[in-house]
């Protein structure tokens, strides 16, 4: 089985991704959604709240598992993908696109350097 791991973003070992563009989006990887199976519930923080690198920011649940979500970066949440509340299956269908979770205004961009590259993340899951 081969998993999609876009090279334009960075990763945590716990299977979250972040973009490093002007708008920083975070979500979970293709590998993570495959491991979870049918995602049925997502709990995310409200816009305006703070997230901290490698600390829990929410929960994702599939039919068979409950998994904490860790933030790749620290910062302030500027947007939440509320579509996921009614359609959590977007995480299975499009984990890097419509299945994004948060937009964050990062407080310390040097944290990106601590994250795995796509290649390093692939080595981690294979």
């Amino acid at each position: 089985m081969s998993f999609d791991i876009p090279s334009d973003r960075r990763y945590l070992e716990s299977h979250e991704w972040t973009t490093t563009d002007e708008t920083v989006r975070i979500g979970i990887t293709d590998f993570a959604q495959d491991e979870l199976g049918d995602v049925v519930f997502v709990e995310l923080p409200d816009a305006g709240s703070e997230v901290t690198a490698e600390e829990e920011f929410g929960v994702v649940e599939s039919i068979k598992a409950v998994s904490d979500l860790l933030s790749p970066v620290s910062g302030t949440v500027t947007a939440v993908n509320e579509d996921l509340f009614d359609a959590p299956e977007l995480l299975n269908q499009d984990p890097y696109g419509d299945g994004w979770m948060l937009e964050v205004d990062p407080s310390d961009e040097s944290e990106f350097d601590d994250l795995l590259t796509a290649e390093e993340y692939r080595d981690n899951i294979e």
């Binding site: 199976g37 049918d38 049925v40 519930f41 649940e61 039919i63 068979k64 409950v66 509340f85 299975n92």
Partner: protein
């Protein structure tokens, strides 16, 4: 200790299954996705490998007496080819396991086969042998768990699929009946039973011929994940989770299966259960449906509007059929009858729910 493997372990792997440990066995949990497999069983048909279920065979002049004294139901009611759901209780009436007892169809002298849950076969074999010896009964007890594969074909299309590979022989098998017949040429015990709430069959076939029977059916392969969501929608008990002699000790009355108890027979646990029936139960197995977003899970507390304890959940999931979060568990019998508004505590947060009487779906 290594995991026990079903005979089709490699076949499942080649069909893309992911595996889980269950009752000491390495079993397929998912082939495609739980929701796909679940929908196939509700709408057409699905095929499960349940070879982790145990088989214990009991024969000899005192076979009926032995089985009757160790199960809560009355096996003397069974004609050849009948099946019966029952509990196996200890002296204080606590459920050790639940089981289906078959009176095998082809013998004038009663011969029984019962199906303990995964990982309970050795314990039940020992229990039967020790009680036989203690009571001086003349019966032969064999643990044939690794001689039989067990495959479950479930769903509205199951009767037609079964008839196609048995020359129509399964058409004569009524609900909760069993008979020996050829499935794709393999002599099997076919019973019109299952644990999904759908029509269908369970086939006991020789371990080494499992491949032939498995591949005879052209339908969705299903794992234990879908088996769990299907039985949950029906409110069926899962041994070791909804009851467990150590972690969740319950009588059949608490667990909602008091109908399996025949107090007119003599069995281990009978006197305790007669008392329990007279005195009534404090907690009762119920369903809950969440009215807010969230997923009920094993171990979650249930409280009333004031936050006072009402009970706890033993199983829960997002129902694939309803798209609603559902749970099963033990709630105060008097304070939380069906219809009661309760709260399920999900990660510290009380979420609105209502008590219901399973099944959650119309069947």
């Amino acid at each position: 200790m290594g995991l026990r493997k079903p005979p089709l372990r490699e076949t499942h792997a080649s069909q893309g299954a992911s595996f889980t440990e269950f009752g000491g066995w390495e079993m397929p949990v998912e082939f495609d996705s739980i929701s796909t497999e679940h929908a196939a069983v509700r709408e057409s048909a699905g095929l499960f490998d349940v070879s982790h279920m145990g088989e214990i065979e009991v024969s000899g002049p005192d076979a009926a007496a032995l089985v009757n004294r160790l199960t809560t139901n009355d096996v003397t009611e069974l004609d050849p080819g009948d099946t019966q759901y029952a509990c196996i209780t200890d002296a204080d009436g606590t459920i050790l396991d639940d089981t289906v007892v078959f009176r095998l169809p082809d013998d004038a002298d009663p011969r029984y086969l019962f199906v303990p849950n995964a990982g309970h076969d050795a314990e039940m074999y020992t229990r039967w042998v020790e009680h036989r010896d203690e009571w001086g009964l003349d019966a032969t007890v064999q643990n044939t768990t690794e001689e039989w594969a067990m495959l479950a074909l479930q769903g509205p299309d199951a009767p037609n699929l079964a008839a196609d590979v048995t020359d129509g022989a399964t058409r004569d098998v009524g609900r909760f009946e069993a008979t020996f017949l050829d499935v794709a040429g393999v002599r099997s015990l076919a019973s019109r039973t299952g644990y999904t709430g759908e029509d269908g069959f369970e086939f006991l076939c020789p371990w080494d011929a499992a491949e032939t029977v498995w591949s005879a059916f052209d339908c969705q392969p299903c794992g234990l994940g879908a088996r769990d969501t299907l039985r949950l929608e029906m409110g069926f008990l899962l041994s070791g989770q909804d009851f467990d002699p150590t972690d969740e000790p319950r009588t059949p009355y608490e667990a909602g299966v008091g109908w399996t108890v025949d107090l007119d027979t003599t069995f281990v646990g009978r006197d305790a259960l007669e008392r329990a029936e007279r005195e009534g139960v404090d907690e009762r197995f119920r369903g809950v449906q969440l009215l807010e977003r969230g997923v009920p899970r094993h171990g979650y507390e249930v409280v009333d509007a004031d936050g006072d304890h009402l009970g706890h959940l033993t199983s829960g999931t997002m129902s694939p059929t309803l798209g609603e979060p559902i749970g099963l568990g033990y709630l105060a019998a008097d304070a939380a009858p069906p219809g009661t508004r309760v709260r399920v505590v999900v990660r510290g947060e009380p979420k609105q729910a209502k008590v219901v009487s399973p099944p959650f779906i119309d069947k």
